[in-house]
Structures are given as C-alpha cells and as structure tokens.
C-alpha cells in the first residue's frame, strides 16, 4: 500500500455496493451499532454521516476520528463519575461523626456551665444533673476525640487519593493504597458487607501509576459491593464479606479481592472485560470500569488481571503487578 495507509480519508474511494455479498443489511446494522457505541461514549446522540451512502473506508475514517476525539473525554468523564459517586458517600461518612461531635460538644458546654462555680446557674442545677454531668463528661471527651479521629482518617485518605500522579510512575506502597481505597469506598459497601484486609507486613514497593491502581481497586470493590447487595436483596444473608489479600511473590505483587456476592454468570464470563458490557441496571454502571481496569493492569503495567467466579457463591479478582517496571 502507498503512504495513504494510515489515512483512509485520502485513500482512493472504492465504492462498495451494499448489495454485494448479501451483506448490506448487516453492515448497516454494524454501522448502527458503532454509532450507538460512540453515542454512549460521547453521552449524546451522534448524527449519522451526512452522505447517504459513504463507502466503508470513508465511514470508518470518520468514525475513527470521532472516537479519537471523544476517547479522552469519555475516560475523563468516567473517572469524574466515579469520584462524584464516592463524594456523596464520603460526605455521609464525615457527617456521621460530625453529628455526634456536635452533640457531645453541646453537652460539654452545658455541663461546663452547670459545674462552673462562677456561672450564675446555681439555682437551676440539681443533684441529678451534677451527677449525670460528672459521669458523662469523660465519655463525651473520649467520643468527641474518636469522632475527630474518624474525620481526620477520611480527610487524609481523600488527600492521598486526590494527590495526582499525573500519569507518572512511582514507587508505591500497596498497603497504603489498599487502606486508602477501603476508607474512601467505605460508604459504598458498609451497609451490605464487612471488609477484611490481609496484607503481608513486608511488601516491596511496586513501580506503578498510583491514580490508575486506585481506580482499578475502587472499581473492583464497588463491583463486589453491588454483587453482594443483590444477594442481600434476594434475602440470602444480611451482610456479605469482601476480603482483600496482598502477597509478594517472586517477581510481582498479587492483590486478590474476593466477595461472596452473586458471582458472574457463565454467559457473561467471556465479556467481563469488554468495553460497554454491563449487567447492571441502567444508570448503575457504564460497562467501562473493568475494561479500563484491564487496560491499566495489562497494557500500561504489563501485569495480569483475571478472575474466578462461582455463580451464587462469589467472585475473586486477582491483580498481579510486576516488581520490575517495563515500559509499555
């Protein structure tokens, strides 16, 4: 082929008769599918090509350029969506300690006024109140401090999460990554599941892009929570379990995220990492989470990502990241 190979637009048009090889209808179908995939990525309807009958090459070129234009946008908006979803949960996680911190501080203020000999409240205070105040003050302080520690924990986890690595590879502490992910995602799973984290204390630092690994773990954890939620709704149990294990192997680190949720149906198994494939209700998932996770682990980090699953019993996702960085 001449130099026009990677620029199909300038390739000499070679009109294809739609009736040829009896494939007219199916090509139209495929065009339609392509349009709807792009539609899903852009988030708004894509006008079909202007020309009534573009030849294949021109059509593909047009689509390709559109996909290239929207791809970074689509990835970005998918990321924003995940953060937005987390933000509501994080707000709730902070709100809970704030509620009892304010109650306790209000109590401490009242109690102080009752006990303060200088305050002119002596006439209204009674023996019961004094006893109650003395007994409860240490507890109020204790629980206020506990609440503040919880807020600090969440805020510092958010800080670490938002500390952007700008696509740069770094030597990363996996224990830290796992703990941070579990804190920021807590509101997504805590109503349906408990979480156990089991990490070998001595973990070698892993060369990887921090943001990317966060998003892989978050995606898998949120999927696990959804898989468990469907079992809870079905009345199988009241609370499921998410287990995160990390082990250092000879030349890599393996992280396993196991849930006892609904599992992956045999029919869906081959398509799990396919882009836009989703078994979740409309609005619950874009079908891109695991596809992106796959591309991050396998393509960007030269690692491995796979799963084993038993329908009705649960799923385990395994991530292996090499200890020696190899370029893409």
């Amino acid at each position: 082929m001449p130099a026009t190979f990677d620029s199909p637009l300038s390739a000499a048009p070679d009109p294809v008769d739609a009736d040829d090889e009896g494939g007219g209808a199916s090509i139209d179908d495929q065009r339609q599918q392509l349009l709807s995939v792009i539609h899903a990525m852009v988030g708004q309807p894509v006008p079909p090509p202007q020309t009534a009958r573009l030849d294949e090459a021109a059509f593909l070129a047009q689509m390709l350029s559109m996909v290239r234009q929207v791809q970074p946008l689509a990835l970005h908006s998918q990321k924003l969506e995940a953060i937005g979803q987390l933000a509501a949960g994080i707000a709730h996680e902070i709100n809970t300690p704030i509620q009892f911190i304010s109650d306790n501080v209000a109590f401490l203020k009242q109690a102080f006024m009752l006990l303060d000999p200088r305050a002119d409240g002596g006439s209204t205070v009674n023996e019961r109140q004094l006893r109650y105040a003395r007994e409860q003050i240490p507890l109020a302080f204790e629980q206020t401090i506990e609440g503040l520690q919880r807020v600090i924990l969440i805020v510092s986890a958010m800080k670490r999460l938002s500390h952007a690595s700008n696509g740069q590879r770094d030597s990363v502490d996996m224990i830290d990554i796992i703990n941070t992910t579990s804190v920021v995602s807590r509101n997504e799973w805590k109503y349906v599941a408990d979480m156990q984290i089991d990490v070998t204390p001595q973990m070698p630092p892993v060369p990887c892009i921090r943001d990317d690994i966060y998003s892989v773990l978050l995606n898998i954890i949120i999927n696990a929570a959804h898989a468990i939620a469907s079992q809870v709704e079905a009345g199988r149990y009241e609370k499921g379990l998410i287990q995160i294990r990390a082990r250092a192997l000879a030349d890599c680190v393996r992280i396993t995220i196991a849930d006892n949720g609904c599992g992956i149906a045999d029919t869906a198994r081959g398509r799990v990492f396919e882009p836009f494939y989703s078994t979740k209700a409309v609005g619950k998932g874009t079908g891109q989470g695991l596809a992106i996770a796959h591309s991050i682990v396998v393509q960007k980090h030269r690692g491995r990502l796979w799963f084993d699953s038993a329908p009705g019993e649960g799923t385990s996702f395994h991530i292996e990241l090499p200890l020696q960085a190899t370029s893409e």
Partner: protein, 369 residues
C-alpha cells in the same frame, strides 16, 4: 412523650442520649441500633414519635417506617438522615411525616418533639390520630399530572406556568409544600405558599416529584367524583382568596390555605370516614405532622369555625380563607364572625361571589369550547 431513636451508629445515639439526659426532659426515650430492634421496641410499646436514620444495614429507615405506618399508624414518623440526597428525601416522603438532615441540634429535636406533644394533646380522640397516621398523600388528579408532565417537556416553559398548574391540584400542592418544608430544602423560614415552594425546589426536583406522584396513579380514588368536586371547589376557593387579598403581602399564603383547607374532608372521604364535622381539625393535624408552618396549619384549623384574633394581619388571612372556602362550597359563613366583621362583611361576600361567578363562567366557556 414516648420517643424512639434509631441509628446503626451507636455513638450518634449516645450523643443524643447525653444532650437529652442533661437537659432532663420529661420524655421517655429509647434507643435502637437497628430496624429490627426498633420493631421489637414498638411491639413492646408503641412510641409517640420515631426518629430514624435512613441508611442502615439490614432493614433501612424507609422499610422500618413503612412497617411502623402499617402497624402503629398513630406514631409520628421522622427521618433524620446524614444522606443529603434529593432522591432519598423524596423516597422518604412516602413513609415519613418529616425529614431532617444531620447534623441536627438538640433545639430542633426539642421543637419537633414538643410540637408532636402539643398535637397529641389537641387531638384527644385517639382513634382519629390513628386514622390520620395512615394518610400519606392524596391521589393526584390524572389531568393535572398529565398537564404538568406535558408542560415540563415543552421547551420554553417557565416557573410561573408550573406554579399555576400546581395550584390547580390540592394533592400536588400539598406534596410540593411538604417537600419544600423538609429539612433538606428548607433554608430558614418555613414556606407557606406554593409559589415560594416551587422557586425553592427548582424544576428538576418538581419533575422528580411528578414521577413519584405517578406511583399513585393506580389509586382507585383518582377519578372519584366526590373528590373531583372537592378539588374543583378548592381551586375556586383559592382563586377567591387571592382576589380578596389582592395587593397584600398575605395573598400567596391565603391562596395556599384556601386550597388546602378541605384536605381533611378529602382524606376522610378517601378513607371512607363518615364524620366530617371535624374535618378542619383532621386537615390541620395532618399538615402539622407534615411539618407545615404553624401559620398555615392555624388557617386550615380555623377555616371552618373562625375565631376573632387581635393580630390584624392574621385576621385578614382568616377572614379571606373562611369566606373563600364557604363561598366556593356554596356553604353559609359563620354568622357570628360576619357580625364581628361589620359592614365589611357584605362587601367581601359580594366580591367573593362575583369572583366565583366569573370563574364559573370562564370554566363553562372553556368546557363548551
């Protein structure tokens, strides 16, 4: 007062317990850490008021309150949620009388509980309290639902049109006001008129509300002729009230009060209760449990047998609401009250009847055309 707090976070319950314990209220307070435990407590003794978190493992707040509604309808149901989520607020409207957001201070809770205690004392008839507890919403008229839905999909519609449509359906107006007065949307002062409520909520929320209202589309009473007549009279009453209060700051409140005045009568019909002589009380009680502002509740309570009050602004509102509702329903006004109004009575009645004649004529023309 028998109060039950429910939250899966034990430290929240301890914080509440501490502030209440020190203040030494005359309440009997219990604390449950799960929906299941709360149900067990209710089975032991039904509380006057239950204040529950929304999101909890196992049985969540909405499911808990649904059960409480069915089994202990006279208990006042309140959601206290840290999830400032619009969808959840609207979901809670199904089962909760009121919705508060965390963090929430003791004085808010105190007001709520004291308010509930006052309502309880006023409502001496326990069976009536139990009945009102079952009411959650009136079925929305299918016509206004469809009209509003159509309007919201028309490009270029404005808030004024939406408000006008909502003011044409008692049940819709009640729902909109209820939502606007939930803690999630309420800013400072409680909202007592539809117009302010629509502005506060915004159109996207109104749209969500409309979807929820549609859940009631299978209600057998949607097309009930008696309800339809009462709805028609309520709209006329609201137009008359607006005319009587034209150019005064109380106009919107009077309009809303006249529109909602007979909500008790409608509910008593809907739930097949025969005694309607206490409908004003029932309506006021219901609006109060929904957290509506006191001024609106008072107007509804008084609209049937008005009392002469010293406060001039409130008196104007009571007068307009009473006359508007009576004239719209073709019922006689309270003769004692008219005597106190003196020579203004005839003028107001005349204006009201003239207004009714005009709206009937316009409606007649529209129906013929």
């Amino acid at each position: 007062m028998d109060v039950l707090f429910v939250d899966d976070e034990e430290l929240i319950l301890k914080g509440v317990q501490r502030t209440i314990g020190l203040a030494g209220f005359d309440w009997n307070v219990r604390y449950a850490t799960s929906g299941r435990q709360a149900i067990a407590f209710c089975e032991a003794a039904a509380p006057d008021i239950i204040i529950s978190d929304m999101r909890m493992p196992g049985m969540d707040g909405a499911r808990l309150l649904k059960q409480v509604q069915q089994r202990w309808p006279s208990t006042l149901r309140v959601i206290l949620s840290g999830h400032a989520d619009e969808e959840m607020t609207i979901r809670a409207l199904d089962v909760a009388h009121q919705y508060l957001t965390k963090p929430c201070d003791l004085s808010t809770l105190e007001t709520l509980i004291e308010h509930c205690a006052e309502d309880r004392q006023r409502q001496d008839d326990a069976s009536l309290v139990a009945l009102v507890g079952q009411f959650d919403r009136l079925p929305v008229a299918p016509r206004s639902y469809l009209q509003l839905q159509a309007l919201l999909t028309t490009p270029g519609y404005d808030l004024g049109q939406v408000t006008a449509l909502i003011e044409h359906d008692v049940a819709l107006a009640a729902n909109v006001l209820r939502l606007a007065n939930s803690a999630y949307f309420r800013a400072n002062a409680p909202i007592s008129d539809v117009h302010t409520a629509v502005v506060r909520l915004g159109l996207s929320t109104i749209r969500t509300l409309i979807l929820i209202c549609d859940l009631y589309s299978d209600d057998a009473y949607r097309d009930d002729p008696v309800l339809a007549r009462l709805r028609g009279c309520a709209i006329e009453a609201s137009i008359i009230a607006a005319t009587l209060m034209h150019g005064t700051p109380g106009r919107d409140v009077a309009m809303t009060a006249a529109l909602l005045a007979d909500i008790g009568r409608m509910l008593m019909h809907r739930y097949r209760m025969s005694t309607t002589d206490r409908h004003a009380e029932v309506g006021a009680y219901l609006l109060s449990t929904w957290g509506m502002p006191d001024s609106l509740v008072d107007l509804v309570r008084q609209h049937h047998s008005p009392r002469w009050v010293d406060d001039a602004a409130m008196r104007e509102l009571i007068t307009a609401t009473h006359i508007a509702v009576c004239v719209a329903n073709a019922e006689a006004c309270d003769s004692g009250y008219l005597l106190q109004l003196g020579n203004r009575a005839d003028a107001l009645l005349g204006l009201a009847r003239q207004c009714l004649a005009q709206t009937t004529a316009i409606d007649g023309e529209r129906d013929r055309g």
